[in-house]
């Protein structure tokens, strides 16, 4: 080796040393600066790092190439409708790029939206929607805990994919979510007509879970501490208090072969549901073998363990929420306090949780601008509106009955939420703008509220919100049609609104069916005859108004078939909707949810007026037999007994049909002449 080689080596070594020194000094500075400015993706950088991250780092520069190739492949396969590798590809990419939120969002979306629709059974679709949710909730968000985008995407899947009605399987999704959360938290408290009481009851109900001891050991310690103070507490042979919680857990494990997890909650809630459900008495419906555990039943009935169950179940529920669902019970409690009686079986409640959480966590990062939070805030507003429309759920896990009704507890909450998010709205909702989405949304919301209260006969409340709308400070003064509407007295305001809504055939159909569904479910099923009558009147009025409007229209409408639907005889429309609801094929286009099971269908049929039962009966029997060919003979008649006077009705109906037909033919002949 000559001198020049040696010199080059020394020079190179010197350069390396300088570079290393500089790098270590600068990187420390940079990390400190980034930390101070909260520029890092997460404030829990180490926690979410799986071993694959190390693998990704080890791949060095090739990681980018490899990830690019995986992306191209994922996209190509998606477009070609080949989903067999979807999970593996998303898993590989997210492992290599765990801190890139778009990756998680893309794959969750792909599973929940594209792959789910490509499958043909509701159960398989739900699995994909759930896979999308779990990818974000269980993996994406824990690794990017303060990323707004991921929270928004997750909230959107809840409020749009599950709560929306565009997907054919949306009822299945809603029922599955309701079932899952009935197991997790149990059936929520029964509601009263007073919002404050409802909110208080829900807070108290959730508090038991949120404030339960953090582990079973902690629950046992608390039990022993309490027992030490209680002279009546059960003592062991050594004179020390005995932990009945521990004893119960041991017996569950050894005798019932159950662990304190979601499966235990499932068995308990199904047992409770069967006891409460009248379907078990009427239809002999009960638990299948998988849902029955004789030892558990006896332990639940044993008086000695009642207090132990009271201590144990909230802890199990809390652990399941934290460990399986990656949610925080204390935050759930906080949001229930803030937003009202949130029913966790409702998809929009989960949308509220994740969207609000995303904004709150995201705002702690200095880099988050109002653009990031704007869309997420919109999801919150959207979700609260959905809760108002459909937040009151009646669900029976035994029969799968699912009804979602307007929840008036959220009427005033909408405005509060708007005030909260408006502050973050930036220029998008600044006072300088004449039109803002939030204000426009609120105006539309109030119009709906007024119309609904008016149709329910709650005129005073309708009047109150009518006044509120008139005095709304941020009203769009440039909207002439709104200005005209606001000048009208309440009755005319509602009538005019109805006119505007029914100008399109599809909306008219939605409006009529929505009113009829409300009449049947809230009016008949929940025994509110006044609502039944008023909603029926409203549906009739909408139909008449639509026909009147259509007669003066000259434009060719593409929805001719829908117009024909509305032009049918009103009794026919009412019976058709009634039959669809009873036979389990009802679809509410207004976004509400009605999917009755046999038990509620039988109740509803029994409570319907005689004329309605008569007009619907034959069609109902035919539709139900066709829909459920495996039903044993006589089961349909047992559920829906033939109304009295059917023979006379059939004769009268046939003759009126013949008369109608004659008139129609005459009209056609007249037109041809």
């Amino acid at each position: 080796m000559n001198l020049s080689d040696r010199a080059i080596q020394f020079l190179a070594a010197f350069c390396v040393a300088v570079a290393l020194l500089g790098s270590s000094v600068l990187s420390t500075e940079l990390i400190a600066e980034a930390g101070k400015a909260q520029l890092t993706y997460t404030d829990e950088a180490q926690e979410g790092d799986p071993p694959e991250v190390a693998l990704g780092i080890a791949m060095g520069a090739f990681r980018g190439l490899f990830v690019n190739w995986l992306w191209v492949r994922a996209n190509t396969l998606k477009q070609d409708g080949k989903f067999y590798e979807a999970i593996e590809l998303s898993s590989a990419i997210t492992r290599l790029q765990p801190r890139f939120p778009r990756v998680w969002a893309f794959h969750a979306w792909n599973m929940a939206y594209n792959i789910s629709v490509a499958t043909n059974t509701a159960a398989e679709r739900w699995e994909w929607v759930k896979a999308g949710i779990e990818l974000l909730r269980d993996q994406g968000i824990p690794r990017n805990p303060n990323d707004v985008l991921l929270h928004k995407e997750l909230a959107w899947i809840f409020v749009h994919k599950i709560q929306g009605w565009a997907d054919d399987a949306h009822f299945y999704y809603k029922r599955q979510l309701a079932r899952e959360w009935t197991y997790v938290l149990g059936t929520p408290p029964v509601r009263t007509g007073v919002t404050e009481e409802n909110s208080r009851a829900y807070v108290e109900w959730l508090r038991q879970v949120a404030e339960a001891p953090e582990s079973i050991d902690a629950a046992v310690d608390a039990e022993l501490r309490d027992a030490a103070k209680d002279s009546n507490a059960e003592k062991g042979p050594d004179g020390k208090p005995v932990s009945l919680v521990r004893e119960l857990l041991n017996r569950l494990r050894d005798e019932a072969h159950l662990l304190p997890n979601l499966d235990l909650l499932r068995l308990i809630e199904l047992r409770n549901a069967v006891r409460l459900s009248s379907a078990s008495a009427r239809l002999g419906m009960g638990r299948n073998e998988e849902s029955r555990n004789a030892v558990l039943d006896s332990l639940l009935d044993e008086p000695r363990y009642q207090a132990a169950w009271q201590r144990l179940l909230p802890v199990v529920r809390q652990r399941v929420i934290i460990e399986k669902y990656h949610m925080e019970p204390s935050r759930m409690l906080d949001y229930t306090r803030r937003y009202g009686p949130l029913d966790w079986r409702h998809p929009a409640t989960h949308a509220v949780y994740w969207a609000v959480r995303g904004v709150e966590e995201g705002l702690q990062r200095n880099t988050v601008t109002y653009f990031d939070t704007l869309n997420t805030d919109r999801v919150v507003v959207n979700a609260i509106q959905e809760l108002w429309r459909t937040g009151e759920i009646v669900f029976d896990p035994v029969t799968d009955d699912y009804i979602a009704l307007t929840d008036f507890n959220f009427t005033d909450k909408y405005n509060d939420v708007l005030d909260e998010v408006r502050k973050r709205g930036g220029f998008a909702d600044s006072d300088e703008r004449i039109y803002t989405e939030y204000s426009a949304g609120y105006q539309n919301f109030l119009r709906d509220v007024i119309r609904v209260y008016y149709n329910r006969g709650e005129i005073a409340l309708a009047e109150k919100y009518h006044e509120k709308l008139r005095n709304f400070a941020r009203i769009n003064l440039n909207d002439d049609s709104l200005m005209y509407l606001l000048q009208l007295p309440l009755a005319d305001f509602v009538q005019e609104q109805m006119k505007q809504r029914v100008s399109t055939p599809y909306v008219a159909v939605t409006e009529i069916e929505g009113a009829l569904m409300e009449a049947f479910t809230r009016g008949l099923l929940l025994r509110k005859p006044d609502i039944f009558r008023r909603q029926l009147e409203y549906a009739r009025a909408v139909r008449e108004l639509f026909i009147k409007e259509q007669n003066v229209r000259t434009l060719v409408d593409k929805d001719d078939r829908m117009a024909d639907y509305v032009r049918q005889d009103f009794t026919t429309i009412v019976s058709n909707v009634f039959v669809r609801l009873l036979s389990g094929s009802a679809v509410s286009n207004s976004g509400g949810g009605f999917r009755l099971g046999p038990n509620q269908a039988a109740d509803l049929f029994e409570r319907a007026p005689l004329e309605l039962r008569q007009s619907a009966y034959d069609l109902l029997v035919a539709t139900t037999s066709q829909r459920y060919p495996d039903l044993p003979e006589g089961a349909i008649k047992q559920l829906f007994p033939e109304p009295p006077g059917m023979a006379e009705y059939r004769v009268a109906h046939a003759s009126s049909q013949a008369e109608e037909e004659r008139k129609r033919k005459e009209a056609v002949e007249y037109e041809q002449k």
């Binding site: 409708g81 999970i87 629709v117 749009h160 929805d559």
Partner: protein
């Protein structure tokens, strides 16, 4: 007797002919006996019931006995009993036991029967305890799978050596290459990798996915990774063998013997391809057997193969099967052919169809009209003339508009041709576009006559729609009307979907007409779709079954072997005059170019703009086009073969395709070897040292 002496004695015994004959008879009798026993058991309802429940029990049984190779074998036996209930299953199980007998006999006649058995037992003995611990279970599973695969590979290699034993220079060179392959680290790594992947992948297929996805993943990874690893093995082994022999002057020892240059190069190629053949046989057997194992697993909604949760047996009746099973049996484990609808521009078959319709209409209008060849010809001419006139008018109109905008434009035949192409392309697009709520558009698929009388035939319609800006959250409803029967589907945009169609819908003339309505079938159930929908050029196709997957599987591996032959030839040709690193790089470049030719072709068509926005020439893009276009054209056939993709999608690789691949790629292989030979013959090997 001490152990060493016992081993020596057993070793001598296993090499003796009496032992070989006796062991072969015992092996054959055992295999036949087991097969017959399993067959008899499969006829017994109680055993079948036990086998049905075995899969579930085996996975959750906590007993150590069930978690090792014995548990796996028990599960495999139960699966076989289940499979033997069906005729297709009998063939699979028979093939399996024939393979076992052949492999065992190979070991016996190679004189290593007892050694192989001992190796297998010791290996599984080590794997067993490892499988009991959750942290080491994956190592145990890997070992349990890799040992039989390695043994089969070694048996194959020994057979191949025996086959290359003929005293010919080509075989001598090939035999030397086989020895090198096992000795050289570079090739050994890839051989181990193939076996590793094959042993590991089954463990990655989790049962929480539908069965059809598991089978498709197995095909994709099992076959795709095998091809990828073998391609690299071929490339590096071939280049290393030829280049290192020149660098290290070992070639002197060969070329100073009566070995012609062509014999040397051909010998290298034969050696590499022989090794590839052995590895492909090992992997193909592994992939096939595990596929059959998967096929016998319960699909979604089943408790056993073709047994629904309510106990209904669905064998042979796709209409009763769960969706998962039906798709697996009718869309994955089959060989299907895809056809596109007739284009808007009248082709011969479309003209025939239109003529038929017109003739029928005329006869219906006037019963005195006779269906004669003259009438058909006149109608056909009329149709062509009408179409041509419309086209000419449109071109004329376009020409007038262009000239009115720019009077300098010359009316040339070339310009008219260009306008005609534009008009046709525009019409084709309009034909594939359907506005919401307007009457349905009809598409015709021809050539399905043979399927009309097939009672078990199933057609699959694959479709993909685009609308507006393809809103990812939009769901459209479209109705496919086939012979008046509506099939409504909910569709996400820009994502393909499929649904089955009965062959009963095929018309007498072998055509199938599908009308598509853009909107919901029941207007009261959903709002109208917002935008017009468009089927992209490959967005509507009909697939039908043309055979079982077994022979297709064989052809797939045939195509892979042919493709590897080309890579080997390029690598050998490059190494004949370049050093190892440069030759590897050249061969790698060829491999990448060949494999990405379809992607390159699509990219060039869709994204390459030769002119700038301002109208000037985009020089970098022109250069890219000059280089990339010939590459895409030359290797298009190679890339388009895509054997793994076709296997995964259940698409047919026909014998004619295989022959065509053999001719085309075989031709290039010969050309590459010829080029290598031409250079190699001119090389002065004595001077070259590679330094």
């Amino acid at each position: 007797m001490n152990p060493r002496a016992l081993i020596a004695r057993l070793n001598r015994a296993q090499r003796g002919t009496p032992f070989k004959i006796a062991a072969t008879i015992v092996t054959a009798a055992l295999c036949i006996g087991v097969f017959v026993t399993l067959y008899v058991l499969s006829r017994d309802a109680r055993t079948v019931q036990a086998a049905t429940g075995a899969a579930a029990k085996a996975t959750d049984a906590g007993a150590w006995f069930n978690q090792g190779p014995i548990g796996a074998l028990t599960l495999a036996f139960h699966s076989m009993i289940d499979a033997l209930r069906e005729s297709s299953g009998i063939a699979s199980v028979a093939i399996l036991w024939t393979l076992v007998a052949v492999v065992a006999s190979t070991f016996i006649w190679l004189g290593i029967g007892l050694s192989a058995l001992a190796g297998l037992l010791i290996g599984w003995g080590v794997a067993w305890p490892l499988m009991l611990n959750e942290h080491t279970a994956w190592v145990g599973r890997l070992l349990a799978g890799a040992i039989p695969l390695s043994l089969v590979f070694l048996a194959g290699l020994s057979l191949l050596r025996a086959a290359f034993a003929a005293p010919r220079p080509v075989f001598a060179v090939a035999r030397t290459l086989l020895d090198e392959a096992v000795r050289m680290k570079v090739s050994l790594v890839f051989i181990v990798l193939v076996i590793f992947f094959l042993a590991v992948i089954p463990g990655l297929l989790t049962t929480d996915q539908p069965l059809r996805y598991r089978v498709q993943q197995w095909f994709q990874y099992g076959t795709g990774l095998t091809y990828a690893v073998l391609a690299f093995l071929t490339l590096f082994l071939a280049t290393a063998s030829v280049a290192y022999e020149q660098r290290d002057r070992i070639i002197w020892q060969t070329m100073t013997k009566p070995v012609a240059p062509w014999q040397y190069l051909l010998g290298k190629w034969v050696g590499v391809m022989g090794l590839n053949a052995v590895l492909l046989i090992v992997t193909a057997s592994g992939v096939f057997l595990f596929t059959e194992y998967l096929r016998n697993q319960p699909a979604r909604g089943e408790i056993a193969r073709n047994v629904l949760e309510n106990g209904t047996v669905t064998t042979g009746d796709p209409s009763l099967m769960t969706e998962d099973r039906r798709i697996l049996e009718t869309q994955v484990l089959v060989a299907r052919v895809a056809i596109m609808p007739e284009p808007y521009q009248p082709s011969d078959s479309k003209l025939d169809l239109l003529t038929n319709i017109a003739v029928k209409a005329r006869i219906a209008e006037n019963s005195t009209v006779q269906d004669t060849p003259e009438l058909r010809k006149s109608i056909r001419d009329e149709l062509v003339e009408t179409f041509n006139k419309r086209l000419t008018d449109s071109v004329e109109q376009l020409m007038l508009e262009t000239k009115s905008r720019d009077p300098r434009v010359q009316d040339t035949p070339e310009l008219r041709d260009q306008f005609a192409r534009e008009v046709l392309s525009d019409w084709e697009l309009q034909y594939r576009t359907i506005e919401p709520g307007v009457p349905p558009e009809t598409y015709v698929f021809q050539g399905l006559g043979a399927l009309r009388n097939d009672p078990n035939g199933i057609l699959t319609l694959r479709f993909q729609i685009n609308a507006g800006s393809n809103d990812p959250s939009a769901l459209y409803r479209i109705v496919f009307i086939i012979r008046g029967v509506p099939h409504e589907r909910q569709v996400a945009l820009k994502a393909a979907q499929t649904f089955p169609i009965s062959t009963d819908f095929i018309n007498d003339d072998g055509s199938l007409m599908i009308s598509v309505y853009n909107g919901p079938g029941d207007p009261s159930s959903a709002p109208q779709n917002r935008n017009a929908i468009t089927f992209p050029p490959d967005g509507l196709e009909l697939l039908y079954t043309a055979g079982g997957y077994e022979l297709n599987f064989l052809r797939v591996f045939g195509v892979i072997w042919i493709k590897l032959g080309f890579i080997a030839a390029v690598a050998i040709a490059a190494a004949s005059f370049l050093s190892f690193s440069v030759a590897s790089l050249v061969a790698l470049a060829f491999l990448i170019m060949a494999e990405s030719a379809v992607f390159l072709d699509d990219s060039l068509k869709n994204y390459l703009q030769l002119t700038n926005v301002g109208g000037g020439t985009n020089i970098p893009n022109v250069i890219i086009s000059l280089v990339a276009t010939p590459v895409a054209a030359i290797f298009h056939t190679y890339a388009a073969l895509n054997p793994t993709g076709k296997l995964v999608d259940g698409l047919l690789i026909s014998w004619s395709e295989l022959a065509s691949a053999l001719l085309t790629i075989g031709g290039w292989t010969l050309a590459a070897l010829g080029l290598g030979l031409a250079i190699f013959r001119r090389r002065e090997l004595a001077l070259y040292s590679g330094q």
